[in-house]
Each structure stands twice: as C-alpha cells, then as structure tokens.
Symmetry: D2
Subunit: 137 residues, 4 copies
Amino acid sequence: MGTVQNMLQTHPTSSQIERSVLAQCIQECYDCAAACTLCADACLGEDKLQMLVKCIRLNNDCADACIATGRILSRLNQPNWPVVRHQVQAMVAACRACAEECSQHAEMHEHCRICAEACRRCEEACNQVLKTLPVQE
Amino acid sequence: MGTVQNMLQTHPTSSQIERSVLAQCIQECYDCAAACTLCADACLGEDKLQMLVKCIRLNNDCADACIATGRILSRLNQPNWPVVRHQVQAMVAACRACAEECSQHAEMHEHCRICAEACRRCEEACNQVLKTLPVQE
Amino acid sequence: MGTVQNMLQTHPTSSQIERSVLAQCIQECYDCAAACTLCADACLGEDKLQMLVKCIRLNNDCADACIATGRILSRLNQPNWPVVRHQVQAMVAACRACAEECSQHAEMHEHCRICAEACRRCEEACNQVLKTLPVQE
Amino acid sequence: MGTVQNMLQTHPTSSQIERSVLAQCIQECYDCAAACTLCADACLGEDKLQMLVKCIRLNNDCADACIATGRILSRLNQPNWPVVRHQVQAMVAACRACAEECSQHAEMHEHCRICAEACRRCEEACNQVLKTLPVQE
C-alpha cells in the first residue's frame, strides 16, 4: 500500500476520486496482475493441465486488464471519465470471471484459491471507484 | 495484416467471431497502440507542451487499453464473453476520446492527425467485433 | 509498416538511430508480440499440450519483452542509451529462444512455424538497431 | 509482499532462484512500475514541465521494463536463463537511469524522491536475483 499511497499524496493534480479509494484500487490492480500471472504459470505446471485451460486464459485476460486499469487510474491529469469508467467496468468483469473460475479449482490448487481472493479484492476496490466516479459523460 | 491473419488461420480453436473481423481488430489494436505511444512521445517533444498534456494522457490511456484488448481478443480458447465485450467497449471509449483530442491538434501536429486516424480505424474495427459477439452472458 | 513509419517521420525530435531502421524494429516488435500472444493461445488449444509448456512460456516471455521494447524504442526524447541497448539485447535473447523452441514444433504446428518467422524477423531488426546505437555509455 | 510470496509458495514448479529472493524482486518490479507510472503523470502536472521531459521518458521506460520483468520472473516453468538474465539486466539499467534522473528533482518534487527510492529498491532486488541465476547459458 505504501508506495502508491505516498505517490498519490504528492501528486500535484487533484482528483475527483477520493485518494484513499484510488490508492486502494491501483494497488489491488497491480496485486491482482501479479497473482494472475503467477496463477497462469502455476496452472501450466500442474499435471491435469487440460482442465486448467480456461483458468489460464482468464488469468491472462485478468492480468492484462489489471495493468491497463492500474495505469489508467494512475493518471490524474485531465481524465476522460467514460474512458476511466469503461476500463474499470472491464476490470470488474475480468476479476469476476477469473475469481469464479479459480474458485472451482481452489480446493485442488492453493494458488487458485489465493488468486481468486486477489481478484475478489480487486473487484471490490473497482466497485468502490465506480461509486465515486463523476456521473456526467 | 499478414502475421495476425496467418496466425489466426492456423489456430486449432474455432472462434464465434468471424476470423477476418477478428484479425482486422487485433491488428488495429497493435497499430493503434504503436501510434498512440509514438504520439505521446512526439507531443512531449513539442514546444507548446503544456497544451498537449490532455493529448499525452489520452494517448497513453489508449495505448494501454489497446495492448490489453489486442491480447484478450487473441485468445480463442474458452472466452468469457462479458470480459471480451467490456474490454472492447472500453477500447471504443479510449479510441474515441483519443481521436477527438488528437483531431484538435491535427492541423498543428501531423503526428496527431495520423494518430487520430489510427484511433478511428481501431474504433471502427472494435465496433465490427461488438456486432458479432454472442449476445448471451 | 505504414503507421509507425508515418508517425516517426512527423516526430519533432531527431533520433540518433536512422528512422527507417527504427521504424522497422518498432513494427517488428509489435508484430512479434501479436504472433507470440496468438501462438501461446494456439498451443493451449492443442491436444498434446504438455509438450508445449516450454513453448507457451517462451511465447509469453517474448510477447512481454516485445511490448516493452517497442514502447521504449518509440521514445525519441532524451534517450538513455544503456537502457535502450540493454532492452534491445533482452529482446534479441527472447526472440532467439522463442524462435528456437517454436521451430521444433514447426512441422507439427503451422502457428509455431509462423511465430518462429516473426521472432527471427524481430531479432534481425533488433540487431540492425544495435549496430546503429551510440557506443558511449 | 503477501500475495506474491504466497503464490510462489504454492507454485508446483521448483525454481533455481531462491523463492524469497524471487518474491522480493517480483514485488519490487510491480511496486516500481506503479511508482514510475504515477511519477510520469505527476511530472506532467507540474508547472515547469519542460524540465521534466527526460524524467517522464525514463519513468515510462522503467515502468514498461518493470512489467515485462515482473511477468517473466513470475514464470517458473522451463525458463530460458539468457532470456531471464538479459531482461533483469535491462531492468537494472532502467532502474538506475530513472533513479538518477528522479534524484535530481527530488528536492523540488516529493514524487520524484519517492519514485527514486522505489527504483533503487527494485535495482537492488534485481541484483540479488542476478547473483543467484544459473551461470551457464
């Protein structure tokens, strides 16, 4: 939490999103990106690999969306709100899908259980951001 | 166009999106990512830099969304359609916002004019994909 | 080739790398990123998946290095040459490793053959850039 | 630190890099990516923007290298050591250059001071990884 929060506090531009909510979400995006990339590779190392193709695919989708979302939310200068909102909504969809799929392997694979938790935290943090976004286009 | 199209033709998994539509969109995503990254840096090299802050910001947002979208669309195995659809919608929003901003600098800066065109092509290709996506969740 | 080349020609900052060499390399980075991402997913759709774990891994490594390298080479303003040189060298290593692995599956999987070619072209374009980079640190 | 470390502990594939060293480095890569992306945007919001062009450029280079490196290090299955080593070396170069540039603005801009620290931590973590990499090609 430290670095993102500290960086945001020293940013010269004010944000319409409360900084603690924003810091939490950016942090969760990077955390979830890390978890999903690790889960995709962990799945690739399992014996019953064929059963994990869907999981690997969603891990990778979620990691890619996380990086884009974490970066876009990190830009406070002159945001275009529809761009931000749509990207955060895409992030919610990716987190939800990945968490659901990972949950189905959670008893068998501990990495899927931990990854599902990271996705759920990221989804929740994104939903908090969506609540505070300016409504007008 | 060649590489993406050739790769898609040899992919073992069938896609519910027509392959020529998909190939076009993936290609435009990477092309637009390249254009936006170059435009952000070209803007950073202009004298009246302060006027281009919004443009740089949207260039970077659009490039990030492009990479995520191009990658997600490249995965044919067991897609989660809401994830795909939301990410492509986010891409449309980013392309539109970046094209609009770049257009305002197009007379002054040729790189903004070319970038706006790349964004418009990507937006159009994304809209073609959205038309062919399965409707059910 | 079009977009990258046109963007570079309108960039206000001069580059110590000849623009046609640079344009070729940036274009090959994105092309190779697209091919590798598609090859990783195509491999994931094959029956004898277990044999392709190394290939998938190197596809993903190469795609990640491609995006970083393509972006870094797109920045002409005030480059730090050791940063550029090391990243292009990392790209060469990734292209070489991925091309070698893909080549071993080229007779069986057409997507691996096409991907290996994209990696070879990218490696060659990176080597052309390395020849023209300023030598001093 | 939690998520990456926990994920690595449950990964089915053994790594030749000690897991605590690896976890630290992956975590610092994502942390540094977040800091650099935020610093680039914070610089873009400062009044004396023209003086910060080099900083913004290196922030972005470093963020891109961080994402590639963090992802490549997260893959334990069948690594190609030259690929890993070259990418980590590129990361060291990017961290060093960005830390040096940010340090020059650290008294004026607190975000540059914090970003320089994140780069230094990432550089140090990368050097620890380089020490433990298998020497043979």
